[in-house]
């Protein structure tokens, strides 16, 4: 089937079989290998991307379901000049990754949650982190990184309000 995937604001016209899952289309057809595939069963969350602003498992969606729908992957997090996203800075500062296999999934999971609610509380972050698997960090640094990004975001917002 002929479809167009819109990934990080770029259009990718593709001809895919209906059975192609979004994760494979992103990696093999669009060449965006930042999205990782672990279990292919919805369990690990390594494949998490934003589809229409919502964090979803790209191993449990078909590429043909995403024709014309905005998709955001880890490659779309950094700013136009390549400067890291606040979440990426926080993951680095808090050592939120070791091998890094799970990292794109956690980043997109957190990016989706912060877009919906920039004031994520500790409990919400703890709950959110339960969605994905990490075999290295023990989750605590990931939790700290997301909390830090949320806090930086709020401080940034408040700073801006105060200076007005």
């Amino acid at each position: 089937m002929k479809i167009t995937l819109t990934v990080n604001d770029a259009a990718y016209p593709l001809d895919v079989e209906p059975r192609r899952v979004l994760a494979d289309a992103l990696r093999d057809d669009c060449g965006l290998t930042g999205t990782h595939l672990g279990c292919e069963q919805g369990v690990c969350g390594a494949c998490t991307v934003l589809v229409d602003g919502e964090a979803v498992r790209s191993c449990l969606m078909l590429a043909v379901q995403c024709d014309g729908v905005p998709i955001r992957t880890v490659e779309g997090l950094a700013g136009p000049g390549g400067e890291p996203h606040p979440l990426q800075r926080a993951f680095s500062a808090e050592r939120g990754l070791q091998c890094g296999f799970c990292t794109p999934g956690f980043l997109m999971l957190a990016a989706g949650a912060l877009d919906h609610d920039p004031r994520l509380g500790d409990e919400e972050v703890a709950d959110l982190v339960r969605s994905n698997l990490c075999r290295c960090t023990g989750y605590e640094p990931i939790r700290r990184a997301i909390t830090r990004a949320a806090r930086d975001h709020q401080n940034g917002q408040e700073g801006r309000h105060r200076s007005v």
Binding site: M1, E17, P18, R19, V21, D24, E40, Q41, G42, V43, G45, T48, E54, A55, V56, R57, C59, L60, M61, L62, V64, Q65, L109, G112, A113, D127, L128, R130, S131, N132, L133
Partner: protein, 284 residues
């Protein structure tokens, strides 16, 4: 593994969807179980009908004491207790957070859970406990089946392969109903070893109505009728709830052994969880 090849259609009306089913299509709703089954080669449909573009199926309405949940209402919707009026909304909000994780709840649907009919499904247990009605549509017409007669076994229901599950209807719960939902699972990633939902009405100091739903306590979701009978007319008290737990565990449940939970263990967990859920549900 990858899904085997299939043809894909995305009908824009219920009538077109039903025609696709008549031609042998399998429904793709949230895809959170279908794609898993296809990856595992447990399902290999030749034709898949993606119902996500059928307008109207995403409607959630409450009127005349009945809640109607369309086939495309996602799990996530129920996370806000205000989505559904009264104690029913509270019960759904307590139950939904035990289903999978946020990214899966963003796609998966309540109707899809009822169509898939996993014995550990939280929604399926609540559907039988609350006397839900399942609406099925095919080229032959529309029929309704009470949830109590709909579930036939693991992944087995009274739905014919060519029937689209268009909606699930629930009677709303009276404002003075107390509700609770508890669950026991081995890890955050497992399905429930046992899950219990309860709705209790207490009037003039005695229990006048009790509904108890059990997930993963048999080969299909159960309503704990024997446990409920012990409660009617009783005062809401710990001993009464313990007795109901025992009745649920020995009379209602028919647990099957699982790798990390033999039958004795499961019966023990059922008794404890039922009593705990009732204590939590008891209006104070």
């Amino acid at each position: 593994m990858k899904p085997s090849a299939f043809d894909y259609v995305a009908p824009r009306t219920v009538a077109d969807a039903v025609d696709a089913l008549a031609a042998g299509a399998q429904v793709l709703a949230g895809g959170q179980s279908l794609l898993l089954d296809m990856h595992l080669q447990r399902a290999h449909p030749a034709l898949v009908a993606d119902i996500n573009h059928v307008p109207g199926l995403d409607e959630l309405t409450a009127s005349d004491g009945t809640l109607t949940v369309g086939a495309l209402v996602r799990h996530q919707t129920f996370e806000s207790p205000g989505a559904v009026p009264g104690p029913l909304g509270d019960l759904f909000a307590r139950a939904v957070v035990t289903i999978a994780h946020p990214p899966i709840r963003a796609r998966g649907t309540m109707a899809g859970s009822l169509a898939w009919a996993h014995p550990a499904s939280e929604w399926c247990a609540l559907a039988v406990a609350l006397d839900a009605v399942v609406e099925l549509r095919s080229t032959r017409g529309t029929r309704e089946i009470p949830a109590g007669e709909y579930f036939l076994g693991p992944f087995q229901t009274a739905r014919e392969p060519d029937e689209l599950l268009t909606a699930v209807r629930y009677p709303l719960l009276a404002p003075d109903t107390g509700v609770a939902f508890t669950e026991h699972r081995r890890t955050g990633f497992s399905f429930a070893q046992v899950a219990v939902g309860a709705a209790l009405t207490v009037r003039d100091g005695v229990i006048t109505e009790a509904r108890i739903g059990l997930a993963n306590c048999a080969d299909r979701p159960l309503r704990a009728h024997a446990a409920e009978r012990t409660l009617i007319g009783a005062e809401p008290s710990s001993p009464a709830f313990t007795m109901a737990g025992e009745a649920a565990s020995t009379e209602d449940a028919a647990p099957v052994p699982e790798p990390y939970a033999d039958v004795d263990y499961r019966r023990h967990v059922i008794a404890v969880l039922v009593a705990r859920t009732l204590r939590e549900a008891a209006p104070v």
